[in-house]
């Protein structure tokens, strides 16, 4: 069947009034949970899963998929407005998004995030449609050795580009790696750093750590200062991105889409890695890298585009191989099976209605999201005018609910408060939380893949150099690491990572 006939068939399914309604319900719920910190798509989708038992498989999957990519749209909102990333993929958006809000440019930041997301989301669907089967096959070629080298490169870029002291960034990254070790060792199943506490067997939760380090710490930090409106007293200058913003963002959006799309196909953390790699890349390519961290729109447009492209691309391995690349896709796999459909190589031929219906609904859903989100920007920006004495307790409340709702454990609420205090201290002494969080996510993946590679090669380190993708990644990392020793590069790095006053 040729692609356009198929798409036509899919549009027919997606345009049925019932399916349109569920598509809208999905993206609407997705936007809401994306905005609420902590309450992520996994929680929302698992709560709504039983409700979908009584509707058609098409409507069910269309709605659940809508929740997922809808939440990616909404996810940037809290990062930009109140410096709380709802999930790891929005951590990097805080750096410049929140600074833009402080400069009174919350509107353009939100607008550019939504537009970038729309473009990336749509491109990802096109890619999914045209390239899905081929790409899925390439993605499985990524074995433990390739992942390991990609992680090494990622962590190196992270430290290299962090603002301020490289020593402090390294300390934070190391702390993140150590925190990531807590729990059952993935290779030998031995408990590590669990101190015989059952809550620690599965490791520390990402959500409580992220919300503590960013959200709670930000509140504590603000409380220390005088409680007038010093932060957002700058007048909100226009809600829409300016011509200048567009010019700056075009490149990051294009590059972010491509980067996010390809990393999104890989199992495991594609959205997170792509968002910070995009940030790193934009900072590297920028003629004015010193603006990064102080409210550069490129630092919002790139990562937000990349994580949406990754979200869309994540459907490829699920729909074509039945292999879910992340937790959300695993949940969606469950939903397919409950409805008697097995995603996999045969799905496109056995259930063309469903496959193409879902793909077509994503086009429609992305348009709905744009229409839904643009008018809301004005509303969100109004939120910044809410007095602190009301806003702060509300943020705290949502953080507590969010931390609890992910795991249903009070322990996670304490964990979040603990990291809140740690984050406040870190900020006081000039340590950045971003390297910690990303090392916490990447550290265990790095270790796991290194050890798996060693098992597979029977202890031969040459494996990393013999495989081309892996070798290229490692070579880039080495180049970055030795670059401070070479005078020309060092000058450039200093220029890129100007010390924050």
């Amino acid at each position: 069947m040729d692609v356009f006939n198929s798409l036509w068939l899919g549009l027919g399914v997606a345009m049925q009034p019932m399916n349109l309604l569920f598509c809208f319900a999905g993206v609407f719920i997705g936007t809401l949970i994306g905005v609420l910190p902590g309450i992520g798509p996994v929680a929302a989708m698992s709560l709504l899963l039983p409700i979908t038992f009584n509707i058609t498989p098409e409507a069910a999957i269309i709605m659940l998929a809508g929740i997922y990519y809808g939440s990616m749209y909404g996810g940037s909102t809290t990062s930009i407005l109140v410096n709380i990333p709802g999930e790891a993929a929005s951590v990097i958006t805080c750096l410049d998004g929140y600074q833009m809000a402080r400069n009174g440019r919350a509107g353009p930041a939100l607008g550019m995030a939504a537009i970038g997301s729309f473009i990336a989301g749509t491109l990802a669907v096109v890619g999914l449609m045209l390239l899905a089967p081929t790409l899925a096959r390439v993605a499985v070629k990524f074995g433990p050795a390739e992942y390991f080298s990609l992680m090494v490169l990622g962590l190196t870029i992270l430290v290299w580009l962090s603002q301020g002291s490289i020593i402090k960034a390294l300390i934070m990254a190391c702390l993140g790696v150590v925190l990531g070790l807590v729990g059952i060792d993935s290779i030998t199943a031995m408990p590590r750093l669990t101190f015989d506490q059952m809550q620690l067997i599965d490791g520390l939760g990402l959500v409580p750590i992220v919300m503590g380090l960013f959200g709670i710490a930000e509140i504590l930090n603000n409380l220390e200062q005088r409680l007038d409106r010093e932060v957002f007293q700058a007048r909100v200058e226009g809600l829409m991105p300016t011509k200048e913003d567009w010019k700056r963002s075009a490149g990051p959006i294009a590059r972010g889409s491509v980067l996010g799309f390809f990393l999104g196909i890989l199992p495991g953390g594609g959205a997170v890695i792509s968002s910070f790699l995009s940030y790193a890349m934009e900072k590297r390519l920028s003629k004015t890298p010193e603006r990064f961290g102080k409210g550069a729109i490129e630092g919002v447009a790139g990562p937000e585009t990349a994580n949406n492209a990754a979200a869309g691309a994540g459907f490829i391995p699920l729909l074509t191989l039945g292999i879910p690349p992340n937790v959300v896709m695993a949940l969606l796999l469950g939903a397919f099976i409950v409805h008697g459909v097995q995603p996999g190589p045969l799905m496109m031929t056995q259930n063309p209605q469903l496959f193409w219906g879902v793909v077509a609904s994503m086009y429609i859903g992305n348009v709905m999201l744009l229409v839904l989100n643009m008018p809301l920007i004005g509303l969100w920006v109004q939120l910044l005018k809410v007095p602190y004495k009301i806003l702060f307790p509300m943020i705290l409340l949502f953080c507590v609910i969010g931390a609890y709702s992910v795991s249903n454990q009070v322990f996670d609420v304490y964990l979040m408060l603990g990291f809140g205090i740690l984050g406040w201290l870190m900020k006081k002494y000039g340590y950045e939380p971003a390297p910690l969080v990303l090392a916490f996510v990447l550290g265990p993946m790095l270790e796991n893949n290194l050890r798996k590679s060693m098992i597979l090669s029977q202890g031969d380190f040459m494996m990393f150099l013999e495989r081309p993708i892996s070798a290229v990644c490692l070579a880039c990392a080495v180049l970055l690491l030795v670059s401070p020793l070479l005078p020309i590069f060092n000058k450039q790095r200093k220029q890129l990572a100007t010390e924050e006053s």
């Binding site: 433990p144 408990p191 191989l321 469950g334 597979l456």
Partner: protein, 325 residues
């Protein structure tokens, strides 16, 4: 951090209070007078959760009271049972799904519960379908060939599992020990990664639950054996381990249990309700979708089975060296 002594003391007190016969019988007549909470120690939406929800619904019809599913994931599926053991009253209104990790984890690290003493076992319900797959262009046509390759070159054959210390890992090592061969486990994280690992040619084979199903049906992967007591409905041409000469049935069976010293009337009524649920068409349909074979056992059989499993796990964990000192 939670002190371990407080819940224990509380549990003992509660147990003592319910041992008084007057209270026991007063409760028994009215049981169940209110909804029963069923703790499922897995995230909502997964195969275990969805099948338990179907059973809860069917059992509720029989009990005349709702059975409310409460997801408490964590600690490899033991946090739900552990919380119940520490805090729930043994009145039958709180029960929990008991995955095999409840019997395994205590031998791997210190836990707050003792599976032998802290629970009242009610009934066993079902288990999963496991199997070994290779890539379609793999030179191994049968499971025997895979074993012989491992014999020829000890340690060279690699297999992916969804994690170290899982039933998949333990059973593969049991097979190796029985055949007198050596092969190498590569533990991945969950089922998604194991399918990708074998598809990408990174490992020789994958041992996992039926996440490989669609790829087998599409001819991308070859299923060499399944580990149930009988051949599967979906892949009837694929032999079981028993047929291949390994008397092993491995399906991580799970059932339900309540806190220790549970009201016996509630145990009996719950057992009856879940027996009925295991004959319910909606339940059987759901189980089939996830390739889970019904394996109901009444209370007495289940208690015997649990005791055997606990003893067996101790030996297996020690043999594999998974025990912490």
């Amino acid at each position: 951090m939670r002190p371990a002594s407080t819940p224990l003391a509380r549990r003992t007190l509660l147990g003592a209070a319910l041992a008084l016969p007057a209270i026991g019988s007063a409760r028994a007549q009215a049981w169940p007078a209110r909804p029963v909470t069923l703790i499922v120690p897995w995230p909502a939406g997964g195969s275990t959760d969805v099948s338990m929800r179907a059973m809860a619904e069917a059992a509720a019809k029989h009990l005349g009271q709702q059975v409310v599913v409460d997801n408490k994931p964590g600690a490899a599926g033991t946090l739900g049972g552990a919380t119940m053991a520490a805090t729930a009253r043994p009145d039958g209104y709180t029960i929990a799904q008991m995955p095999i990790s409840m019997f395994r984890l205590p031998y791997m690290q210190k836990t707050s519960f003792d599976p032998q003493k802290d629970f009242t076992y009610i009934s066993n319900l079902t288990g999963y379908t496991f199997g070994v797959v290779v890539k379609k262009d793999s030179k191994f046509q049968t499971f025997k060939e895979l074993i012989e390759a491992a014999r020829a070159e000890p340690g060279k054959i690699t297999y992916a599992t969804p994690g170290a210390g899982t039933t998949l890992h333990i059973t593969m090592e049991q097979i190796a020990a029985a055949a007198g061969v050596k092969w190498t486990q590569v533990p991945f994280k969950g089922g998604a990664e194991t399918s990708a690992a074998v598809m990408g040619g990174h490992v020789s084979a994958t041992a996992d639950s039926t996440g490989w199903g669609p790829l087998v049906d599409a001819g991308e992967l070859r299923l060499l054996c399944t580990w149930g007591g009988a051949r599967t409905k979906k892949w009837p041409n694929v032999p079981t381990l028993t047929e291949l000469g390994f008397p092993i049935v491995s399906d991580s069976p799970f059932g339900i249990a309540g806190p220790r010293n549970m009201n016996p009337v509630a145990v009996q009524k719950l057992d009856e309700a879940f027996r009925a649920a295991m004959q319910d068409k909606a339940v059987l349909d759901t189980l089939e979708k996830f390739d889970m074979a019904p394996r109901y056992m009444p209370t007495a059989d289940y208690i015997k089975f649990v005791n055997e499993t606990i003893a067996e796990q101790k030996v297996l964990i020690e043999r594999l060296g998974l025990k912490t000192s």
